[in-house]
């Protein structure tokens, strides 16, 4: 049985060692704000060139999956997504940590990440070629509608005023248009600052908008950064497992969403985790608790973003098209190694591919003990460090992180300015997430719109291009549903509430 042979070759001591080292390195890099999974993979690529292709790939896959998980640490403990994939993790993770459940949140994130990662890898193993074909059905128009659908999530992501959420989203979209347009080449809103020609980078903006307000609040209040319930209770593994099992459908749905979003080139872990979070919130029996440290939201985000690892590798290996940004680096590494991706890879070089996929499974499973161990240390040290040291240390990290994205001083300046602006806006009830969502989705919507218009124009009808393609129609229906579902829900609830309150009057 060849599959067993592949599994055995994936489990050689050398490959196991690489998997462990990769997960550890990835987790640590991912935990540092600004050092993304893409960077983790890129930095470590040269080390894999001396290795056999399958081993090199296992190391890269392990780093990648570790980094996506590691992003949860700073999301939970500092309210700062360590990687863009962990944006939605902050929503529930940080409130959990604030009220003293940081250890539980980290353990839950670990379990959710492992399950999500395994689901994504399973799809990669079993269904890669047919799923890659699905990804190709998505053209520019579909990406346009998908981005619009993403923007409707603002409704479920905004705390408090929907109007403020919508305004924040608009602000994000406007910010995303600054600089040289990728499609069209126009220069917009740069105010003649050369530093704005490259536009606003997502990662420095993330660090600024999420982390700087936390730092300012840490300095402004005398309370300890994170509370502790009582004594350190250890991993709280049993409790976390019970919670995860209790929302197993949430885990399954989120992992599925993560896999699918990962397969679509151009979307990534950030969008996957945001969509899963919104879906979890919509369908959870405890949706009222969302935003106040509801584990369901954390589980959704973390299982989805790790599922994008396996999902994103599907178009990468089958088609030679990177599914997510780190996959672009992995694809480059494959080229240097002389491994040709493409449909033939699964037949001609099946030894490499399947060894790699089983290696990814092993690395993902190894993430459980490794993640728990590292997580516990991260949590304990963060609690033990006095604020007087923590604040400057984290502030230092934000500068390094913003700089490291493109080795650019400009990005640091943007991070600080956006951070201060974000802090100011939060005082007026504008939260960071709609702004970030606009910043991420704006360019996708714009590119899709322009490309769709060009292609539609060439075919003869722009309207037909946008409104008659089957997948587009399906997404439009989702948008309508997403916009009006809250109203429907309200209408259903109103009579129920009246009935409840009726007899009391």
């Amino acid at each position: 049985m060849p599959q067993l042979d592949f599994l055995i070759s994936a489990a050689t001591p050398f490959n196991l060692l690489l998997a462990v080292a990769g997960v550890v390195a990835g987790t640590v890099i991912g935990a540092l704000p600004g050092l993304t999974a893409t960077m983790a993979v890129a930095v470590l690529v040269p080390f894999t060139f001396g290795m056999p292709p399958a081993s090199g790939l296992i190391a890269l896959g392990a780093i990648y999956t570790g980094a996506i998980y590691g992003g949860a640490y700073s999301a939970i403990l500092l309210n700062t997504p360590g990687t863009p994939s962990a944006i939605a993790t902050t929503f529930e993770g940080y409130p959990m940590a604030k009220r003293g459940d940081g250890d539980l949140a980290i353990t839950l994130a670990c379990i959710a990440s492992v399950v999500g990662g395994l689901v994504g890898a399973l799809f990669l193993l079993l269904l890669a070629p047919p799923l890659a074909a699905v990804a190709l059905r998505f053209g520019p128009v579909e990406y346009f509608w998908l981005a619009i659908f993403g923007l409707t999530l603002i409704a479920s992501l905004s705390e408090g005023s929907l109007l403020k959420g919508a305004l924040g989203g608009c602000l994000g979209v406007i910010l995303s248009t600054i600089g040289t347009a990728e499609v069209g080449g126009d220069i917009r809103y740069t105010g003649d600052f050369k530093s704005l020609l490259g536009g606003i980078e997502v990662v420095p903006a993330l660090i600024g908008l999420y982390c700087v307000p936390v730092l300012i609040d840490m300095v402004a209040t005398a309370d300890p950064h994170l509370r502790l319930k009582e004594k350190l209770a250890g991993y709280r593994l049993g409790e976390a497992l019970r919670l995860a099992w209790g929302s197993k459908w949430n885990v399954a749905r989120s992992s599925l969403i993560g896999t699918v979003v990962g397969i679509l080139p151009g979307a990534g872990g950030s969008i996957a985790s945001l969509v899963s979070y919104a879906e979890a919130r919509r369908s959870s029996p405890r949706s009222a608790n969302f935003g106040h440290g509801e584990p369901d939201g954390l589980i959704a985000s973390e299982s989805a973003n790790n599922a994008t690892v396996g999902g994103g590798l599907i178009p990468t290996l089958v088609l030679g098209i990177p599914g997510t940004p780190p996959d672009a680096v992995i694809l480059g590494a494959l080229m240097v190694q002389g491994v040709r991706s493409g449909p033939a890879l699964f037949s001609v070089q099946s030894q490499i591919v399947y060894t790699f996929i089983y290696g990814l499974f092993i690395a993902t499973i190894l993430m459980l003990p490794i993640g728990l161990l590292i997580g516990r240390h991260a949590f304990r040290s963060l609690i033990a460090i006095p604020k007087a040291i923590l604040v400057p240390a984290v502030a230092f990290l934000t500068v390094i992180g913003a700089y490291a994205v493109q080795n650019s001083e400009n990005d640091v300046l943007q991070m600080v300015l956006l951070g201060i602006a974000g802090w100011g806006l939060s005082r007026f009830g504008f939260s960071a997430s709609p702004i970030v969502l606009g910043l991420i989705l704006g360019p996708i919507a714009e590119a899709g719109f322009v490309q769709g218009t060009l292609i539609g124009g060439a075919k003869g009808s722009v309207l037909a291009e946008f409104f008659t393609r089957p997948i587009s129609v399906a997404i439009i229906c989702l948008i309508v549903l997403s916009l009006f579902y809250p109203l429907v829900l309200q209408r259903k609830r109103l009579p129920a509430m009246r009935r409840q309150s009726g007899p009391a009057q």
């Binding site: 499609v183 040709r340 490309q451």
Partner: protein
């Protein structure tokens, strides 16, 4: 400080620098800055150079990425970097010529001193393997029958791909629609999904996507050794040769001798058969424009691209 002491110090500095340069180059790690993110053609070719650099010099290169503004973020800072040969920067054409024409990007074309152009990715027309267009002739005929309906995906606006589309449209007397995408990956996705008729890409695209696509023509002098079934535009009667060129630059103030040493080293790597084999397998086409010939090469490319840019209306007023 009076004039003569200034001169003296300048001379002393020059002697010191020359002395330093006369020693074996390189004596320590060389920083190699890529003006784009990891995973692209610039990165892959640098990664392919890396092991040969080490083998030939016993020193290492530290590859760093400084992306932003289509490369301008790096190039606008190039001349402020240490001019000692230990910081080298990847450069690209047509970017270096087109960007300053379009807008103020903080550098001018003549500010950038490329000491060696070491390869290019030739332009190529690629269609999905299932496409009814089997040859370039089919394509031209289809475009003539219904102008504007043929769509091409490509990476970026006013990029090498875009330029190639404009040039060929003019040569063949056809009108096609260019649809810009963010990077080669996105352009390839649209190509494989048949969202567009075809793609203005590079030979590397054909190598990366393999048998899923068909190459109708390449903009090379003679056929690419790894894609022998794809004819050149020249064979088919169109005088189209070009693509995206990649080189290595050092700050302008670098002493001539050090420039020569960098140029020699890149040239030595370029002549290693094993390196050439790897580059060609990835779809790159080799180029050997060394320091002595870069000025002439740039002058030629400049007049070529400037004329095109004027026609396309992208020159800043």
């Amino acid at each position: 400080m009076n004039r003569s002491t200034k001169l003296f110090f300048a001379a002393a500095a020059a002697v010191a620098l020359a002395g330093q340069a006369a020693a074996a180059y390189p004596e320590k790690t060389v920083n190699y800055i890529i003006a784009f993110g990891p995973g692209g053609e610039s990165d892959v070719s640098a990664r392919l150079q890396e092991p040969f650099f080490r083998k030939l010099t016993n020193q290492t290169v530290a590859i760093q990425y400084k992306a932003g503004a289509g490369g301008a973020a790096t190039w606008s800072q190039l001349n402020g970097m240490p001019a000692d040969g230990y910081t080298i920067v990847g450069t690209n054409l047509p970017h270096l010529i087109l960007q300053p024409l379009e807008k103020d990007v903080g550098y001018k074309t003549d500010d950038i001193d490329t000491v060696y152009w070491f390869h290019y990715t030739p332009d190529a027309i690629i269609v999905p393997v299932a496409s009814p267009l089997k040859t370039l002739k089919d394509l031209v005929e289809a475009a003539k029958k219904s102008p504007g309906t043929i769509t091409f995906s490509g990476s970026g606006t006013n990029s090498a791909n875009h330029l190639a589309q404009r040039r060929f449209d003019k040569m063949a007397g056809i009108k096609t629609t260019y649809v810009p995408f963010k990077g080669t990956g996105a352009s390839n996705t649209a190509l494989l999904g048949s969202q567009v008729t075809g793609s203005w890409g590079y030979t590397t695209v054909r190598m990366m996507l393999g048998e899923q696509v068909r190459c109708l023509a390449v903009a090379m002098e003679s056929r690419h050794p790894k894609i022998p079934d794809c004819p050149t535009f020249k064979e088919l009667g169109y005088d189209l040769v070009g693509g995206a060129y990649r080189g290595i630059a050092v700050p302008k103030s670098t002493p001539r001798q050090i420039k020569q040493q960098v140029s020699d080293l890149i040239g030595k790597i370029n002549k290693t058969p094993e390196f050439v084999a790897k580059m060609e397998a990835a779809g790159f086409a080799m180029l050997d424009i060394d320091l002595a010939r870069t000025a002439e090469f740039m002058a030629r490319k400049k007049s070529e691209y400037e004329a095109l840019a004027k026609e396309m209306g992208i020159v800043r007023k």
